[in-house]
Symmetry: C2
Subunit: 304 residues, 2 copies
Protein backbone atom coordinates (compact mmCIF):
# COMPACT_ATOMS: atom_id res chain seq x y z
CA UNK A 1 0.00 0.00 0.00
CA UNK A 2 1.19 3.52 -0.73
CA UNK A 3 2.61 5.47 2.18
CA UNK A 4 0.19 7.43 4.39
CA UNK A 5 1.89 8.34 7.65
CA UNK A 6 1.57 10.94 10.39
CA UNK A 7 4.64 11.97 12.43
CA UNK A 8 4.01 13.98 15.58
CA UNK A 9 6.50 16.80 16.24
CA UNK A 10 4.60 18.40 19.11
CA UNK A 11 1.35 17.57 20.91
CA UNK A 12 1.29 19.86 23.94
CA UNK A 13 -1.05 22.80 24.46
CA UNK A 14 -0.11 26.47 24.72
CA UNK A 15 1.50 26.61 28.16
CA UNK A 16 5.03 25.30 27.74
CA UNK A 17 5.83 22.07 29.52
CA UNK A 18 9.09 20.21 29.91
CA UNK A 19 7.37 17.19 28.36
CA UNK A 20 5.78 18.39 25.15
CA UNK A 21 6.38 20.73 22.26
CA UNK A 22 3.52 22.82 20.93
CA UNK A 23 1.43 21.64 17.99
CA UNK A 24 3.04 20.41 14.81
CA UNK A 25 2.97 17.26 12.73
CA UNK A 26 3.95 16.04 9.30
CA UNK A 27 1.61 14.06 7.05
CA UNK A 28 3.42 11.96 4.45
CA UNK A 29 1.14 10.90 1.60
CA UNK A 30 3.03 8.85 -1.00
CA UNK A 31 6.26 10.73 -0.30
CA UNK A 32 4.72 14.21 -0.42
CA UNK A 33 5.14 15.89 2.95
CA UNK A 34 2.58 18.28 4.43
CA UNK A 35 3.17 20.05 7.72
CA UNK A 36 0.15 20.77 9.89
CA UNK A 37 0.62 23.59 12.38
CA UNK A 38 4.00 24.94 13.35
CA UNK A 39 4.34 25.90 17.02
CA UNK A 40 7.55 27.26 18.52
CA UNK A 41 10.32 24.67 18.42
CA UNK A 42 8.98 22.84 15.37
CA UNK A 43 12.28 23.24 13.50
CA UNK A 44 14.13 21.80 16.50
CA UNK A 45 11.85 18.79 16.56
CA UNK A 46 12.11 18.47 12.80
CA UNK A 47 15.90 18.17 13.02
CA UNK A 48 15.57 15.51 15.70
CA UNK A 49 13.07 13.52 13.66
CA UNK A 50 13.79 11.49 10.57
CA UNK A 51 11.47 13.62 8.46
CA UNK A 52 13.07 14.64 5.15
CA UNK A 53 12.23 18.29 5.75
CA UNK A 54 13.38 19.44 2.33
CA UNK A 55 10.37 17.58 0.93
CA UNK A 56 7.91 19.70 2.91
CA UNK A 57 6.36 22.02 0.34
CA UNK A 58 3.07 22.85 2.05
CA UNK A 59 2.37 24.03 5.57
CA UNK A 60 -1.19 24.24 6.89
CA UNK A 61 -1.93 26.49 9.86
CA UNK A 62 -5.20 25.79 11.67
CA UNK A 63 -5.52 29.11 13.52
CA UNK A 64 -3.52 32.07 14.70
CA UNK A 65 -2.75 31.21 18.29
CA UNK A 66 0.99 31.25 18.94
CA UNK A 67 1.27 27.61 19.91
CA UNK A 68 0.18 26.75 16.36
CA UNK A 69 2.22 29.24 14.33
CA UNK A 70 5.14 30.80 16.28
CA UNK A 71 7.57 28.29 14.73
CA UNK A 72 6.85 29.47 11.20
CA UNK A 73 9.37 32.32 10.93
CA UNK A 74 12.22 30.30 12.42
CA UNK A 75 11.56 27.41 10.11
CA UNK A 76 11.28 29.63 7.04
CA UNK A 77 14.62 31.28 8.00
CA UNK A 78 16.35 27.99 8.62
CA UNK A 79 15.11 26.49 5.37
CA UNK A 80 16.83 29.49 3.75
CA UNK A 81 20.08 28.88 5.63
CA UNK A 82 19.95 25.23 4.62
CA UNK A 83 19.86 26.14 0.94
CA UNK A 84 16.21 25.67 0.02
CA UNK A 85 15.27 26.84 -3.47
CA UNK A 86 11.79 25.30 -3.92
CA UNK A 87 8.78 27.50 -3.17
CA UNK A 88 7.08 26.91 0.16
CA UNK A 89 3.29 27.23 0.31
CA UNK A 90 1.71 28.46 3.53
CA UNK A 91 -2.00 27.71 3.77
CA UNK A 92 -3.47 29.64 6.67
CA UNK A 93 -6.41 31.81 7.71
CA UNK A 94 -6.50 34.76 5.34
CA UNK A 95 -5.70 37.40 7.98
CA UNK A 96 -2.20 35.97 8.52
CA UNK A 97 -1.20 37.01 5.00
CA UNK A 98 -0.46 40.67 5.66
CA UNK A 99 1.28 40.05 9.00
CA UNK A 100 3.46 37.26 7.60
CA UNK A 101 4.46 39.35 4.64
CA UNK A 102 5.55 42.18 6.97
CA UNK A 103 7.48 39.75 9.18
CA UNK A 104 9.20 38.19 6.18
CA UNK A 105 10.25 41.61 4.87
CA UNK A 106 11.60 42.51 8.30
CA UNK A 107 13.33 39.30 9.40
CA UNK A 108 13.92 37.24 6.26
CA UNK A 109 15.13 39.61 3.56
CA UNK A 110 17.68 37.24 2.01
CA UNK A 111 15.64 34.13 1.27
CA UNK A 112 16.62 32.37 -1.93
CA UNK A 113 13.22 30.76 -2.33
CA UNK A 114 9.72 32.15 -2.37
CA UNK A 115 7.11 31.82 0.33
CA UNK A 116 3.68 31.66 -1.28
CA UNK A 117 0.81 32.53 1.00
CA UNK A 118 -2.49 30.86 0.24
CA UNK A 119 -5.17 32.17 2.56
CA UNK A 120 -8.38 30.32 3.34
CA UNK A 121 -11.53 31.08 5.30
CA UNK A 122 -11.54 28.79 8.36
CA UNK A 123 -15.30 29.23 8.76
CA UNK A 124 -16.10 27.55 5.43
CA UNK A 125 -15.65 23.94 4.29
CA UNK A 126 -13.59 23.87 1.10
CA UNK A 127 -10.98 21.84 -0.74
CA UNK A 128 -7.76 23.86 -0.46
CA UNK A 129 -5.29 21.42 -1.98
CA UNK A 130 -5.60 18.80 -4.65
CA UNK A 131 -3.21 16.65 -6.62
CA UNK A 132 -3.50 13.38 -8.56
CA UNK A 133 -3.93 11.26 -5.48
CA UNK A 134 -5.06 13.50 -2.63
CA UNK A 135 -7.43 16.24 -1.54
CA UNK A 136 -7.06 18.37 1.57
CA UNK A 137 -10.27 19.90 2.85
CA UNK A 138 -10.53 22.71 5.37
CA UNK A 139 -13.55 22.62 7.68
CA UNK A 140 -14.58 24.79 10.63
CA UNK A 141 -13.89 23.79 14.22
CA UNK A 142 -15.32 25.60 17.25
CA UNK A 143 -12.62 27.48 19.11
CA UNK A 144 -12.13 30.91 20.71
CA UNK A 145 -10.94 32.24 17.35
CA UNK A 146 -11.75 31.00 13.84
CA UNK A 147 -10.02 27.65 13.60
CA UNK A 148 -9.85 25.04 10.86
CA UNK A 149 -9.67 21.28 10.82
CA UNK A 150 -8.00 19.49 7.91
CA UNK A 151 -9.17 16.34 6.17
CA UNK A 152 -6.55 14.49 4.12
CA UNK A 153 -8.32 12.09 1.78
CA UNK A 154 -6.91 9.85 -0.91
CA UNK A 155 -8.63 9.94 -4.28
CA UNK A 156 -10.14 6.66 -5.40
CA UNK A 157 -7.67 4.78 -7.57
CA UNK A 158 -8.35 2.53 -10.57
CA UNK A 159 -8.58 -1.21 -10.01
CA UNK A 160 -5.35 -3.20 -10.28
CA UNK A 161 -4.86 -5.33 -13.40
CA UNK A 162 -4.59 -9.05 -12.72
CA UNK A 163 -1.59 -9.75 -14.97
CA UNK A 164 -2.10 -13.53 -15.01
CA UNK A 165 -5.72 -13.14 -16.13
CA UNK A 166 -4.77 -10.50 -18.69
CA UNK A 167 -2.10 -12.79 -20.16
CA UNK A 168 -4.48 -15.74 -20.19
CA UNK A 169 -7.02 -13.76 -22.25
CA UNK A 170 -4.20 -12.24 -24.37
CA UNK A 171 -5.23 -8.65 -23.52
CA UNK A 172 -2.94 -6.30 -25.50
CA UNK A 173 -0.99 -3.80 -23.38
CA UNK A 174 -2.68 -0.75 -24.91
CA UNK A 175 -6.00 -1.96 -23.42
CA UNK A 176 -4.71 -2.12 -19.84
CA UNK A 177 -5.69 1.41 -18.72
CA UNK A 178 -9.17 1.20 -20.16
CA UNK A 179 -9.77 -2.08 -18.35
CA UNK A 180 -8.34 -0.79 -15.05
CA UNK A 181 -10.73 2.16 -15.24
CA UNK A 182 -13.72 -0.22 -15.50
CA UNK A 183 -13.93 -1.44 -19.11
CA UNK A 184 -14.54 -5.05 -20.20
CA UNK A 185 -12.38 -6.84 -22.80
CA UNK A 186 -13.67 -8.33 -26.03
CA UNK A 187 -11.55 -11.13 -27.49
CA UNK A 188 -10.94 -11.58 -31.24
CA UNK A 189 -13.76 -14.16 -31.41
CA UNK A 190 -16.20 -11.68 -29.80
CA UNK A 191 -16.29 -13.13 -26.28
CA UNK A 192 -16.81 -10.51 -23.57
CA UNK A 193 -14.42 -10.93 -20.60
CA UNK A 194 -15.84 -8.93 -17.69
CA UNK A 195 -13.73 -6.22 -16.03
CA UNK A 196 -14.01 -8.10 -12.73
CA UNK A 197 -12.27 -11.20 -14.16
CA UNK A 198 -9.27 -9.13 -15.27
CA UNK A 199 -8.76 -6.89 -12.22
CA UNK A 200 -8.43 -6.86 -8.47
CA UNK A 201 -10.28 -4.12 -6.62
CA UNK A 202 -8.27 -1.04 -5.60
CA UNK A 203 -7.60 -0.63 -1.91
CA UNK A 204 -10.08 1.40 0.10
CA UNK A 205 -9.73 5.18 0.07
CA UNK A 206 -7.95 6.26 3.26
CA UNK A 207 -8.43 9.51 5.15
CA UNK A 208 -7.03 11.40 8.12
CA UNK A 209 -8.77 14.18 10.04
CA UNK A 210 -6.90 16.77 12.13
CA UNK A 211 -9.30 18.36 14.64
CA UNK A 212 -7.34 20.61 16.99
CA UNK A 213 -8.31 23.02 18.77
CA UNK A 214 -12.04 22.63 19.32
CA UNK A 215 -14.85 21.95 21.75
CA UNK A 216 -17.04 18.95 20.94
CA UNK A 217 -18.24 19.84 17.47
CA UNK A 218 -20.92 17.59 15.95
CA UNK A 219 -21.20 19.88 12.91
CA UNK A 220 -18.00 18.38 11.52
CA UNK A 221 -19.16 14.75 11.78
CA UNK A 222 -20.45 14.47 8.18
CA UNK A 223 -17.08 15.72 6.91
CA UNK A 224 -14.80 13.44 8.91
CA UNK A 225 -17.14 10.43 8.81
CA UNK A 226 -15.31 7.13 8.35
CA UNK A 227 -11.84 8.64 8.71
CA UNK A 228 -9.22 5.96 9.30
CA UNK A 229 -7.59 8.16 11.91
CA UNK A 230 -8.75 11.26 13.78
CA UNK A 231 -6.31 13.46 15.70
CA UNK A 232 -8.46 15.30 18.24
CA UNK A 233 -8.04 18.02 20.85
CA UNK A 234 -7.79 16.35 24.25
CA UNK A 235 -6.58 19.19 26.44
CA UNK A 236 -8.35 18.00 29.61
CA UNK A 237 -9.87 15.06 31.44
CA UNK A 238 -13.62 15.11 32.08
CA UNK A 239 -13.30 16.42 35.62
CA UNK A 240 -12.07 19.64 33.99
CA UNK A 241 -14.93 19.86 31.51
CA UNK A 242 -15.91 23.33 32.76
CA UNK A 243 -12.44 24.53 31.96
CA UNK A 244 -12.58 22.78 28.57
CA UNK A 245 -15.79 24.58 27.65
CA UNK A 246 -14.49 27.92 28.94
CA UNK A 247 -11.34 27.70 26.81
CA UNK A 248 -13.08 26.04 23.83
CA UNK A 249 -11.11 22.83 24.17
CA UNK A 250 -12.14 19.18 24.47
CA UNK A 251 -11.95 16.51 27.14
CA UNK A 252 -10.84 12.96 26.41
CA UNK A 253 -14.51 11.94 26.50
CA UNK A 254 -15.39 14.62 23.94
CA UNK A 255 -12.66 13.32 21.63
CA UNK A 256 -13.78 9.69 22.04
CA UNK A 257 -17.43 10.57 21.48
CA UNK A 258 -16.45 12.36 18.26
CA UNK A 259 -14.49 9.32 17.03
CA UNK A 260 -17.38 7.00 17.89
CA UNK A 261 -20.01 9.15 16.17
CA UNK A 262 -17.76 9.65 13.15
CA UNK A 263 -17.28 5.88 12.92
CA UNK A 264 -13.55 6.45 12.77
CA UNK A 265 -10.99 3.67 12.52
CA UNK A 266 -8.69 5.03 15.22
CA UNK A 267 -8.39 8.05 17.47
CA UNK A 268 -5.18 9.82 18.45
CA UNK A 269 -5.42 12.16 21.43
CA UNK A 270 -3.28 15.31 21.51
CA UNK A 271 -2.93 18.95 22.59
CA UNK A 272 -2.41 17.90 26.20
CA UNK A 273 -2.55 20.44 29.00
CA UNK A 274 0.73 20.78 30.90
CA UNK A 275 -1.14 19.77 34.09
CA UNK A 276 -0.94 16.05 33.19
CA UNK A 277 2.42 14.55 33.98
CA UNK A 278 0.87 11.19 33.15
CA UNK A 279 -1.64 11.22 30.31
CA UNK A 280 -2.85 7.66 30.89
CA UNK A 281 -5.87 9.15 32.69
CA UNK A 282 -6.87 10.70 29.36
CA UNK A 283 -6.32 7.44 27.49
CA UNK A 284 -8.35 5.41 29.99
CA UNK A 285 -11.20 7.90 29.83
CA UNK A 286 -11.30 7.87 26.03
CA UNK A 287 -10.96 4.09 25.72
CA UNK A 288 -14.09 3.57 27.79
CA UNK A 289 -16.04 5.23 24.96
CA UNK A 290 -13.85 4.44 21.95
CA UNK A 291 -11.37 1.63 22.60
CA UNK A 292 -9.20 2.06 19.51
CA UNK A 293 -7.48 5.14 20.93
CA UNK A 294 -3.81 6.05 21.30
CA UNK A 295 -1.94 8.97 22.87
CA UNK A 296 0.09 11.22 20.60
CA UNK A 297 3.69 11.73 21.61
CA UNK A 298 6.68 13.49 20.10
CA UNK A 299 8.38 11.50 17.31
CA UNK A 300 5.59 8.94 17.12
CA UNK A 301 4.83 7.88 13.55
CA UNK A 302 1.43 6.33 12.84
CA UNK A 303 0.73 4.52 9.59
CA UNK A 304 -2.74 4.65 8.10
Amino acid sequence: MEKFEITILGCGSATPSPKHYTSSQVVDVRGKLFMVDCGEGTQIQLRRSHVAFARINHIFISHLHGDHCFGLLGMISSFGLLGRTAPLYIHAPQELGHMLSQELSFYCRDLEYTVEFQGFDPTVTAVVYEDRSLTITVFPLRHRVPCAGFLFREKPTADHLDRAAADFYKVPQWEYNRIKEGGDFITQDGTVVAHERLTKPAGPVRSYAYCCDTVYNPAMLPIIKGADLIYHDCTYASDDSDRAIKHFHSTAADAARTALEAQAGRLMLGHFSARYTDESILLTEACRIFPNTILAKENLTVTI
Copy 2:
Protein backbone atom coordinates in the same frame (compact mmCIF):
# COMPACT_ATOMS: atom_id res chain seq x y z
CA MET B 1 29.37 37.65 48.15
CA GLU B 2 26.17 38.80 46.46
CA LYS B 3 24.85 36.60 43.65
CA PHE B 4 26.18 37.17 40.13
CA GLU B 5 25.38 34.19 37.95
CA ILE B 6 24.92 33.39 34.28
CA THR B 7 22.65 30.51 33.20
CA ILE B 8 22.90 29.39 29.60
CA LEU B 9 19.57 28.52 27.93
CA GLY B 10 20.93 28.17 24.41
CA CYS B 11 24.40 28.46 22.86
CA GLY B 12 24.04 27.20 19.31
CA SER B 13 24.22 29.31 16.15
CA ALA B 14 21.43 29.94 13.65
CA THR B 15 21.20 26.59 11.91
CA PRO B 16 19.21 24.33 14.18
CA SER B 17 21.05 21.36 15.62
CA PRO B 18 19.83 18.47 17.71
CA LYS B 19 22.43 19.45 20.31
CA HIS B 20 21.92 23.15 20.99
CA TYR B 21 19.20 25.72 21.30
CA THR B 22 19.71 29.15 19.76
CA SER B 23 21.06 32.06 21.82
CA SER B 24 19.60 32.91 25.19
CA GLN B 25 20.87 33.25 28.72
CA VAL B 26 19.81 34.69 32.05
CA VAL B 27 22.03 36.93 34.16
CA ASP B 28 21.12 36.95 37.85
CA VAL B 29 22.57 39.92 39.72
CA ARG B 30 21.55 39.90 43.38
CA GLY B 31 18.25 38.21 42.59
CA LYS B 32 17.31 40.50 39.70
CA LEU B 33 17.06 38.48 36.51
CA PHE B 34 18.02 39.83 33.08
CA MET B 35 17.55 37.79 29.93
CA VAL B 36 20.05 38.27 27.13
CA ASP B 37 18.79 37.28 23.69
CA CYS B 38 15.76 35.09 23.15
CA GLY B 39 16.07 32.64 20.27
CA GLU B 40 13.35 30.17 19.33
CA GLY B 41 12.75 27.64 22.11
CA THR B 42 13.91 29.93 24.92
CA GLN B 43 10.65 29.48 26.83
CA ILE B 44 11.01 25.71 26.52
CA GLN B 45 14.52 25.87 27.97
CA LEU B 46 13.37 28.29 30.64
CA ARG B 47 10.77 25.81 31.87
CA ARG B 48 13.39 23.07 31.98
CA SER B 49 15.83 25.25 33.92
CA HIS B 50 15.54 26.26 37.54
CA VAL B 51 15.37 29.94 36.62
CA ALA B 52 12.55 31.76 38.45
CA PHE B 53 11.22 33.20 35.21
CA ALA B 54 8.61 35.40 36.89
CA ARG B 55 11.53 37.48 38.16
CA ILE B 56 12.73 38.31 34.66
CA ASN B 57 11.73 41.93 34.12
CA HIS B 58 14.24 42.96 31.45
CA ILE B 59 15.14 41.30 28.18
CA PHE B 60 18.08 42.52 26.11
CA ILE B 61 18.21 41.67 22.41
CA SER B 62 21.62 42.03 20.77
CA HIS B 63 20.48 42.14 17.13
CA LEU B 64 17.59 41.24 14.91
CA HIS B 65 18.64 37.89 13.50
CA GLY B 66 16.00 35.26 14.20
CA ASP B 67 18.24 33.02 16.29
CA HIS B 68 18.48 35.86 18.82
CA CYS B 69 14.87 37.05 18.92
CA PHE B 70 12.37 34.52 17.49
CA GLY B 71 11.54 33.26 20.99
CA LEU B 72 10.30 36.65 22.14
CA LEU B 73 6.66 36.42 21.05
CA GLY B 74 6.19 32.92 22.43
CA MET B 75 7.68 33.91 25.75
CA ILE B 76 5.62 37.08 25.99
CA SER B 77 2.45 35.05 25.23
CA SER B 78 3.29 32.34 27.74
CA PHE B 79 4.10 34.86 30.47
CA GLY B 80 0.56 36.12 29.88
CA LEU B 81 -0.94 32.61 30.12
CA LEU B 82 1.01 32.06 33.33
CA GLY B 83 -0.61 35.08 34.96
CA ARG B 84 2.12 37.71 34.75
CA THR B 85 1.05 41.22 35.81
CA ALA B 86 4.43 43.00 36.14
CA PRO B 87 5.61 45.08 33.16
CA LEU B 88 8.26 43.48 30.95
CA TYR B 89 10.95 45.72 29.47
CA ILE B 90 12.39 44.81 26.09
CA HIS B 91 15.70 46.55 25.33
CA ALA B 92 16.53 46.04 21.68
CA PRO B 93 17.77 47.82 18.58
CA GLN B 94 15.36 50.69 17.92
CA GLU B 95 14.05 49.31 14.64
CA LEU B 96 12.42 46.33 16.40
CA GLY B 97 9.98 48.66 18.16
CA HIS B 98 7.49 49.11 15.34
CA MET B 99 7.57 45.46 14.24
CA LEU B 100 7.15 44.15 17.78
CA SER B 101 4.26 46.46 18.45
CA GLN B 102 2.51 45.20 15.30
CA GLU B 103 3.16 41.58 16.24
CA LEU B 104 1.87 42.12 19.77
CA SER B 105 -1.32 43.72 18.46
CA PHE B 106 -1.82 40.81 16.08
CA TYR B 107 -0.87 37.81 18.22
CA CYS B 108 -1.08 38.93 21.85
CA ARG B 109 -4.20 41.04 22.22
CA ASP B 110 -5.20 39.77 25.67
CA LEU B 111 -2.05 40.34 27.74
CA GLU B 112 -2.74 41.40 31.31
CA TYR B 113 0.64 43.05 31.67
CA THR B 114 2.43 45.69 29.61
CA VAL B 115 5.39 45.17 27.34
CA GLU B 116 7.56 48.30 27.43
CA PHE B 117 9.89 48.67 24.48
CA GLN B 118 13.11 50.55 25.15
CA GLY B 119 15.05 50.92 21.94
CA PHE B 120 18.79 51.58 21.77
CA ASP B 121 21.29 52.30 19.03
CA PRO B 122 23.58 49.27 18.75
CA THR B 123 26.27 51.36 17.03
CA VAL B 124 26.84 53.59 20.07
CA THR B 125 28.28 52.79 23.52
CA ALA B 126 25.81 53.83 26.21
CA VAL B 127 24.48 52.84 29.62
CA VAL B 128 20.97 51.52 28.98
CA TYR B 129 20.09 50.24 32.45
CA GLU B 130 21.05 51.35 35.91
CA ASP B 131 19.92 50.54 39.42
CA ARG B 132 21.48 50.87 42.88
CA SER B 133 23.99 48.11 42.31
CA LEU B 134 24.38 47.57 38.59
CA THR B 135 24.87 49.23 35.22
CA ILE B 136 24.30 47.60 31.87
CA THR B 137 26.19 49.14 28.97
CA VAL B 138 25.49 48.53 25.31
CA PHE B 139 28.51 48.61 22.99
CA PRO B 140 28.91 47.94 19.27
CA LEU B 141 30.08 44.59 17.93
CA ARG B 142 31.01 43.94 14.30
CA HIS B 143 28.44 41.71 12.63
CA ARG B 144 26.55 41.56 9.32
CA VAL B 145 23.87 43.76 10.83
CA PRO B 146 24.10 46.30 13.67
CA CYS B 147 24.72 44.19 16.75
CA ALA B 148 25.30 45.07 20.39
CA GLY B 149 27.38 43.59 23.17
CA PHE B 150 26.30 44.03 26.79
CA LEU B 151 28.49 44.77 29.78
CA PHE B 152 26.98 43.99 33.20
CA ARG B 153 29.03 45.81 35.84
CA GLU B 154 28.44 46.07 39.57
CA LYS B 155 28.66 49.51 41.08
CA PRO B 156 31.35 49.96 43.71
CA THR B 157 29.87 49.26 47.12
CA ALA B 158 30.72 50.83 50.50
CA ASP B 159 33.28 49.06 52.69
CA HIS B 160 31.96 46.50 55.17
CA LEU B 161 31.88 47.50 58.85
CA ASP B 162 34.11 45.37 61.11
CA ARG B 163 31.60 44.80 63.92
CA ALA B 164 34.22 43.64 66.45
CA ALA B 165 36.33 46.77 65.90
CA ALA B 166 33.24 49.02 65.99
CA ASP B 167 32.14 47.47 69.30
CA PHE B 168 35.67 47.81 70.71
CA TYR B 169 35.73 51.54 69.98
CA LYS B 170 32.09 51.90 71.09
CA VAL B 171 30.96 53.35 67.73
CA PRO B 172 27.25 54.26 68.02
CA GLN B 173 24.99 52.61 65.43
CA TRP B 174 23.95 55.91 63.83
CA GLU B 175 27.61 56.42 62.75
CA TYR B 176 27.84 53.09 60.86
CA ASN B 177 26.81 54.33 57.41
CA ARG B 178 29.09 57.36 57.50
CA ILE B 179 32.05 55.17 58.43
CA LYS B 180 31.24 52.51 55.76
CA GLU B 181 31.19 55.31 53.17
CA GLY B 182 34.77 56.32 54.16
CA GLY B 183 34.54 58.45 57.33
CA ASP B 184 36.81 58.14 60.40
CA PHE B 185 35.44 57.89 63.96
CA ILE B 186 36.28 60.32 66.75
CA THR B 187 35.94 58.93 70.28
CA GLN B 188 34.59 60.98 73.20
CA ASP B 189 38.17 61.77 74.31
CA GLY B 190 38.98 63.12 70.84
CA THR B 191 41.00 60.17 69.51
CA VAL B 192 40.65 59.67 65.76
CA VAL B 193 40.06 56.01 64.79
CA ALA B 194 40.83 55.66 61.09
CA HIS B 195 38.17 54.30 58.71
CA GLU B 196 40.54 51.48 57.77
CA ARG B 197 40.63 50.15 61.37
CA LEU B 198 36.83 49.96 61.49
CA THR B 199 36.07 48.41 58.11
CA LYS B 200 36.99 45.64 55.72
CA PRO B 201 37.34 46.61 52.08
CA ALA B 202 34.34 45.93 49.83
CA GLY B 203 34.76 43.08 47.36
CA PRO B 204 36.10 43.97 43.96
CA VAL B 205 33.60 45.25 41.40
CA ARG B 206 32.61 42.36 39.17
CA SER B 207 31.65 42.50 35.52
CA TYR B 208 30.39 40.26 32.73
CA ALA B 209 30.63 40.94 29.01
CA TYR B 210 28.36 39.33 26.42
CA CYS B 211 29.98 39.53 22.97
CA CYS B 212 27.91 37.56 20.48
CA ASP B 213 27.77 37.75 17.34
CA THR B 214 30.96 39.41 16.13
CA VAL B 215 34.19 39.06 14.22
CA TYR B 216 37.36 39.80 16.20
CA ASN B 217 36.67 43.34 17.38
CA PRO B 218 39.54 45.17 19.12
CA ALA B 219 37.46 48.35 19.30
CA MET B 220 35.53 46.91 22.23
CA LEU B 221 38.61 46.04 24.31
CA PRO B 222 38.63 49.27 26.38
CA ILE B 223 34.99 48.66 27.32
CA ILE B 224 35.25 45.03 28.40
CA LYS B 225 38.76 45.36 29.91
CA GLY B 226 39.17 43.36 33.11
CA ALA B 227 35.79 41.63 32.86
CA ASP B 228 35.58 38.66 35.20
CA LEU B 229 33.87 36.67 32.49
CA ILE B 230 33.48 37.17 28.76
CA TYR B 231 30.95 35.18 26.72
CA HIS B 232 32.25 35.32 23.16
CA ASP B 233 31.13 34.24 19.71
CA CYS B 234 32.96 31.01 18.83
CA THR B 235 31.08 29.81 15.80
CA TYR B 236 34.07 28.14 14.11
CA ALA B 237 37.51 26.61 14.60
CA SER B 238 40.46 28.39 13.00
CA ASP B 239 40.53 26.16 9.94
CA ASP B 240 37.21 27.79 9.05
CA SER B 241 38.47 31.35 9.58
CA ASP B 242 37.53 32.33 6.00
CA ARG B 243 33.97 31.31 6.71
CA ALA B 244 34.08 33.16 10.04
CA ILE B 245 35.13 36.39 8.35
CA LYS B 246 32.60 35.94 5.55
CA HIS B 247 29.72 35.55 8.02
CA PHE B 248 31.08 38.08 10.54
CA HIS B 249 31.62 35.45 13.23
CA SER B 250 34.63 34.48 15.33
CA THR B 251 36.87 31.47 15.63
CA ALA B 252 37.91 29.99 18.97
CA ALA B 253 41.29 31.70 18.52
CA ASP B 254 39.59 35.08 17.93
CA ALA B 255 37.61 34.63 21.15
CA ALA B 256 40.70 33.64 23.14
CA ARG B 257 42.75 36.51 21.75
CA THR B 258 39.98 38.91 22.80
CA ALA B 259 39.92 37.50 26.35
CA LEU B 260 43.71 37.72 26.57
CA GLU B 261 43.88 41.29 25.31
CA ALA B 262 40.97 42.32 27.55
CA GLN B 263 42.78 40.79 30.55
CA ALA B 264 39.61 38.90 31.36
CA GLY B 265 39.26 36.52 34.28
CA ARG B 266 37.56 33.76 32.33
CA LEU B 267 36.24 33.10 28.84
CA MET B 268 33.11 31.18 27.96
CA LEU B 269 32.82 30.07 24.33
CA GLY B 270 29.39 29.94 22.69
CA HIS B 271 27.30 30.32 19.49
CA PHE B 272 28.63 27.04 18.15
CA SER B 273 28.11 26.07 14.54
CA ALA B 274 26.03 22.92 14.10
CA ARG B 275 29.00 21.36 12.27
CA TYR B 276 30.77 20.48 15.53
CA THR B 277 29.37 17.37 17.13
CA ASP B 278 32.27 17.61 19.58
CA GLU B 279 33.27 21.13 20.56
CA SER B 280 36.45 20.09 22.37
CA ILE B 281 38.38 21.15 19.25
CA LEU B 282 37.19 24.71 19.94
CA LEU B 283 38.12 24.50 23.62
CA THR B 284 41.59 23.15 22.88
CA GLU B 285 42.22 25.87 20.32
CA ALA B 286 41.15 28.64 22.70
CA CYS B 287 43.02 27.23 25.71
CA ARG B 288 46.31 27.40 23.80
CA ILE B 289 45.91 31.20 23.81
CA PHE B 290 43.80 31.77 26.94
CA PRO B 291 43.81 28.79 29.31
CA ASN B 292 40.99 29.87 31.60
CA THR B 293 38.33 29.00 29.03
CA ILE B 294 35.17 26.93 29.27
CA LEU B 295 32.54 25.79 26.77
CA ALA B 296 29.01 27.06 27.20
CA LYS B 297 26.31 24.41 27.32
CA GLU B 298 22.59 24.40 27.92
CA ASN B 299 21.63 24.63 31.62
CA LEU B 300 25.18 25.47 32.71
CA THR B 301 25.26 28.07 35.48
CA VAL B 302 28.50 30.00 35.99
CA THR B 303 29.09 32.05 39.12
CA ILE B 304 31.17 35.21 38.89
